[in-house]
Amino acid sequence: MNQSKKLGVQYLTASIVMMGALLLFGLLASIFYLKYGFLLGKLDFNIVKQVHINALIIACLWGFMGAIYWFLPDELGIETVGIGLARLLFWVFVAAVAVVVLVFIFVQYGSSDESGMWLVNQGRKYVEAPRWAAIGIVAVFFTLAYNIFASVAKARKVTGIMGVLMTTMVPLIAVYLIAFPAPTNMSVDLYWWWWLVHMWVEATWELIIGCILALALMKLLGTSRKVVEIWLYLEVALVLGTGILGLGHHYFWIGTPQYWLSIGGIFSALEPLPLLGMVVHAIYDAGKHQMKTHNKPAFLWLIAEAFGNFIGAGIWGFMMTLPQINLYSHGTQWTVSHGHFAFYGAYITGIIAVAYMVAQESRGIREVRGNAWKWAFAGLNIGMVGMVGALLVSGMSEAFIGRALGGSTLDGFMASQSNSWFMQGMIARTGFGVIIVASYFILAWDLATLGRRREKPSPALATS
């Protein structure tokens, strides 16, 4: 196995481990809604939530990087250029993330001046990491971009997929830098902050995972390059054609001009289109190959990605995005329902699919067998659908009671939070969360031991 593939395995392993942290802190955060005064003054909700969402970002980034480093040598036919630096930076990255998490948990709050921003916490949603760490992330992105560009140059081969992937490196870095200054004026701050959050999650990342899944489909099902590339270009056109101005649905209420209500409403109503296209593509491919594959878990997780992306990001997003609805649904548990379903459906499922492909190939497994993956697949999907359903109940109660009836005041908010419909959803959410965590451990165990557990003779055989 060459160095790039080894690095791919390392990043994917790290991503799966980070999903564990993500889930444990998520489960912990859910308990705050059930138990008054939980961990108050010790480990407050904001800190737990902060670790939860940062773990999500890191798990996704590591998953993408793992998949890219894994597929790159196959696509270009050469060892990735500059892989030594990339492998060194992997350990720097892991160590930096560990330090940031420890600082979040044990230092928690910095001073209210520049030093606090540099050393402890920038305190902006998703951009909490202190500035030193943020600069480190930029360095890692530049290295990734260098690895890709230099390898393409050396191989003298620009495939369509590589063309799209190279293009995504520009917004990946650019919008991250744009969101750095954090001006005092919150309206301006959020204007640029949304460029980062929306342009990453609803545009750049969608294209990165699109490239990764295109490579995966060619390998897994032997889909022809031409078909995959046409689909990818169509996806780029639709994702960016709807998503760039779809940014408008974040510009309804931050002080922006009123025309964003119409622009954001129209374009985000169109945003599910590319995701629907991917569902069509997946069903078409599955039918064409009669679901025959040597890696059933990877294949099913790919299908889960197509549906999860469409329903979680597309449908769940559209449901709350028209300004007339968003006026009440924005910033409630309704948002939380959409957020969980979308990140899971669009990214986590895709990373798991790649992880199964990598486990198979790196260990030379002819056919992926066993039942563990089925339990994990069923448990994670049922758990997730149950959880977002529960959150939707809570979110709708919150929107109707706290927002529409209560007018969003402290009184209205508290009335919504103590309403029994809201609480029922919260209890169910934690219940489904437990199912998700348990299924995650099955998944992690299965991925770790795949192709390794059969080789071990059972104790009964060994003694006989």
Partner: protein, 209 residues
């Protein structure tokens, strides 16, 4: 077009380059539109620029939030002079206290429980119009025995653990008096931002609890 659509399903027909060029054209066009809208939006968002965001010295004035039938939305209304902490802030002083307030808000990771303009977390109330919340006069002023709303806010922000509230309890984040005042000033300013009617009906509705 029909021929190209068929290509999506049938390998062998169609030309990927058509789709590539289409993707590039779409992206470039949309980016140009976004850039134009961004220039206009930033003009409207600049504090004191005459758009939706008042200058920081608005903290010297009375702010209310009223329904405007013509535009069918709630809008902040800037009224006569109403000093904050009995002080008339100069432009420079107002800027300084806002800079501080924003950094306090960031350093204490406020938005991972609360939200501004609905962005953040949803464990605690949205703070967009917190300055205008009727509860300050109704409940917090008597509870903190403060004479003014801003003093009640400072008292609460410094010692939230002394005032447990219903379903949630805010932790003590060790704010100094200076920091608590800066956050209070920031909340007063942000309540003056015209937000296209979000949140709707703030302070004018009541729900049974």
């Amino acid at each position: 077009m029909t021929e190209s659509s068929a290509a999506v399903f049938e390998p062998g027909a169609g030309d990927p380059r058509f789709w590539r060029d289409g993707a590039i054209a779409t992206t470039v066009f949309m980016l140009l539109v976004l850039l134009l809208l961004t220039v206009d939006s930033l003009r409207v968002l600049t504090e004191g620029g005459g758009g939706n965001v008042p200058a920081y010295t608005v903290i010297n004035q009375k702010i209310t939030y009223e329904f405007d039938a013509a535009s069918n939305m709630d809008k902040p209304v800037i009224g006569e002079e109403e000093l904050l902490f009995g002080h008339r802030y100069s432009e420079a002083e107002a800027k300084a206290i806002m800079d501080k307030g924003k950094l306090v808000i960031q350093s204490r990771s406020c938005i991972n429980c609360h939200a501004f303009f609905g962005n953040g977390a949803y464990y605690a109330p949205d703070l967009t119009k917190a300055w205008l919340d009727p509860t300050w006069e109704k409940m917090w002023m008597p509870m903190t025995q403060a004479k003014t709303k801003e003093e009640a806010m400072v008292q609460f922000l410094m010692h939230p653990d002394r005032y447990p509230t219903w379903a949630r309890q805010m932790p003590n984040l060790n704010l100094s008096e200076e920091e608590a005042r800066a956050v209070t000033a920031y909340l007063k300013w942000i309540s003056s931002v015209q937000t296209n009617g979000f949140p709707a009906g703030f302070g004018r509705r009541e729900v049974a609890r």
